[in-house]
Amino acid sequence: MKTMAKACLALAMLSTPLGAAQAATTVEFWHAMSGELADRVNELVDKFNKSQNDYAVRAVAKGTYDEVVNSMIAAYRAKQQPAIVQVNERGFLTMVNSGATLPVAELMAKEGYKINWGDFIAPIATYYTKDGAMMSMPFNASTPILFYNKDHFKAAGFDAPADTWKGLEEQLYAIKKKGVSKCAAVLPADWEWSYLENYSAIEDQPYATKRNGFDGYGAEYVFNKTKLVGHIEQVKKHLDDGLMELAGQGINPGQLFIAGQCSTVINSTAAHAAVEAGAKFQWSATFLPHEEGSTAKNSTIGGAALWTLKGKTEPEYKAVAAFYDYLGKTETQVWWHKATGYVPVTSAAYAAAKAEGYYKDKPTREIAVLQLMRGTPSDNSRGFRLGNSAQANIAIKEEIMAGLLGQKPVQKAMDMAVERGNQVLRQFEKVNAGKN
């Protein structure tokens, strides 16, 4: 195994340009990006390696977010862990409580970099800050927005999607009735993020007690008693009436939109890269809908941050810090924002993109930023800090899906989802007792 890793390393060194090959220290960076986004990560790392001669970062794609966490844990236990690992936002509490990570603020201070943490965009900073210190380096931050097929909307007699769920619903029915498209909407793969969590944030509805878990252990899911129940009933109606499709395994729901089959999809702003590359029709995007009569709050972030793992040598941490410093630079952020569709993580980068007139050409690229920074965040829209979120979501999605498919009443399905979600929270507290 070890010789194999060495052989791979040797090969990688051979294939990189001379500058990188002479680097004193190489650190590994395990990530979960695939397709277009994986290419962008490789480009980013390449740029960093060429920008100086002392350090090199080697990006390794390890599959999906779940698979990255798995490989990382196995590697950590075998003391073969990478220095940098990309973990999605909902892994925050798991990573903080693991005792395996080095807070990024501490690392940067120790290595002598002065980072203006206050310049990070608030909803992103809040998510990754604990006890006043940034715990992980914000990397790819996104939020869901509504992509729509302009041709379909025009054919049905509309200029753009309505602002409210009720208005949008009428339009979707019209698209279906007029035979414009058989698939007016498609449920995204990560619908727990957009249809549950972000709906609750935008509508200012509590998702869990204790300020969605920000106040520490003991939080309980409460979404079975909020406006979310009515929203799920509405989604069920869309499924029942054939307005909405389920893409299923092996088919990316976003792909059905890009293929021109489905008229709308609520997807991460990071889908921009794929939509721009693939859509052969007039498309646009807009803010997520809200309920009639409610003032829409900010949406919450998705995406991931970079975590620094313990057990590495001092020179390796110097390399990590140099990479983070490079990442936080305004030019890097602007490039990353344009290349991928993710939002810039600092206000300076956002201002720079705006100043150069980027959003005049590409107005849809600004929606996510505007939506994230809309209004003053409330306790319900600040984000979520709930243990073992990946596990809880499997149970929550399974139960609510049973409700959506009519296997049980929606209210009952949501009660069950809350019950099973709470079991996961209690189990997490048991495993991580005393780390609150």
């Binding site: 693991s98 698939c183 389920l246 073992n388 990946a390």
Partner: protein, 329 residues
């Protein structure tokens, strides 16, 4: 666990090939078995030496992981290896009380029964047909064995694509026939899809054994029955089928073990256990709880239960197949 299964099927595959080779040998199993039992090594050291590589592999990939799983089943552990708490039977009790676990048990039973019936039924039909073909028998045989050589993850993706309600060609055929096919929506459709995808692969294996067993049925008895006036259907049910029972029972056990353990990649590629957990079988749940949710204690407890099931099945197979279901000719 997988090592166990493989070694069972490995041994039996050898047996099948011998059977196929010894076609029309009337004293098949008796002769082969006593021959095996008779052989012994005068030098015990050499025997152990020859066994060592296999035992080492079993130790590495079966015994050590099993013991660790057994220990972990009684622990609540931090996945990073930080803290470990002993919780006694908590993990098992939690499973007993967990409705999703019982839903997985039900899904597994439905899946395995449907899989066994479909696999054995179709394989028997194909074996019977291939046995009655005179020209190009070898070609048919080879073609029928090919699916076994295809990686399950790949076949799973292909099946998922073919039957995808939005883009799959076979789904379109079903739609045009008026079937509202949608495995993303209807649990029954999803279950059908995973059974079809899993059976498709396993039929080859079943076919191979049944074909070999059919070749080994003595034609003299069948001919004698024909002379006595029994029609082909009667000959099949009264003579050939009973003589196939040991093979059928063996295949049933193998199919159950296959359904229990080896269908993970197919389920992962076609339905991911959905919709709403409808195709989450016990082995898929082990993966989901252990590898996605990082609940190592519960996952270990579940694999212990599965291991107990596999041991029980293997025991039954050796007891019943080798002793009871035997029709000596």
């Amino acid at each position: 666990m997988l090592a166990r299964t493989d070694s069972v099927s490995g041994v039996s595959l050898g047996k099948a090939l011998r059977l196929a080779g010894a076609r029309r040998t009337s004293d098949r199993s008796g002769g082969v078995e006593s021959g095996l039992k008779r052989s012994s090594f005068p030098n015990r050291g050499l025997a152990y030496l020859l066994l060592a590589p296999q035992l080492f592999i079993l130790l590495l990939f079966f015994f050590i992981p099993s013991v660790r799983a057994l220990i972990q089943a009684f622990q609540l552990s931090d996945p990073f290896g930080g803290g470990v708490q002993w919780v006694g039977f908590d993990n098992l009790v939690a499973l007993w009380r967990s409705p999703p676990y019982w839903a997985a048990v039900r899904a597994t039973i439905v899946f395995m029964v449907a899989l066994s019936v479909a696999t054995l039924g179709i394989a028997l039909l194909l074996a019977f047909a291939a046995n009655h073909i005179l020209r190009g028998r070898g070609v048919y045989r080879t073609l029928l064995i090919i699916p076994y050589a295809i990686a399950p993850a790949i076949s799973g993706i292909v099946w998922a694509f073919l039957f995808n309600p939005s883009v799959g060609p076979l789904a379109q055929v079903l739609h045009s026939l008026g079937v509202a096919w949608d495995p993303n929506r209807y649990p029954g459709h999803a279950m059908t899809l995973v059974v079809v995808a899993s059976a498709w692969k396993q039929i080859s294996y079943n076919f191979l054994f049944l074909f070999a067993a059919l070749l080994a049925t003595p034609p003299s008895i069948v001919e004698a029955a024909a002379v006595d006036g029994a029609g082909p259907v009667r000959r099949f049910f009264a003579i050939v089928l009973p003589m196939l029972t040991p093979t059928l029972f063996f295949l049933f056990v193998i199919n159950v073990v296959y359904g229990l353990f080896e269908t993970f990649p197919i389920i992962d590629a076609t339905t991911r256990g959905g919709p709403a957990g409808a195709t989450t079988t016990l082995v898929y749940k082990v993966y989901q709880d252990g590898f996605v949710s990082l609940d190592l204690g519960s996952s270990a407890a579940q694999s212990i239960i599965l291991m107990a099931l596999a041991l029980a099945l293997t025991f039954v197979q050796f007891r019943v197949v080798e002793r009871r279901v035997q029709y000596e000719v």
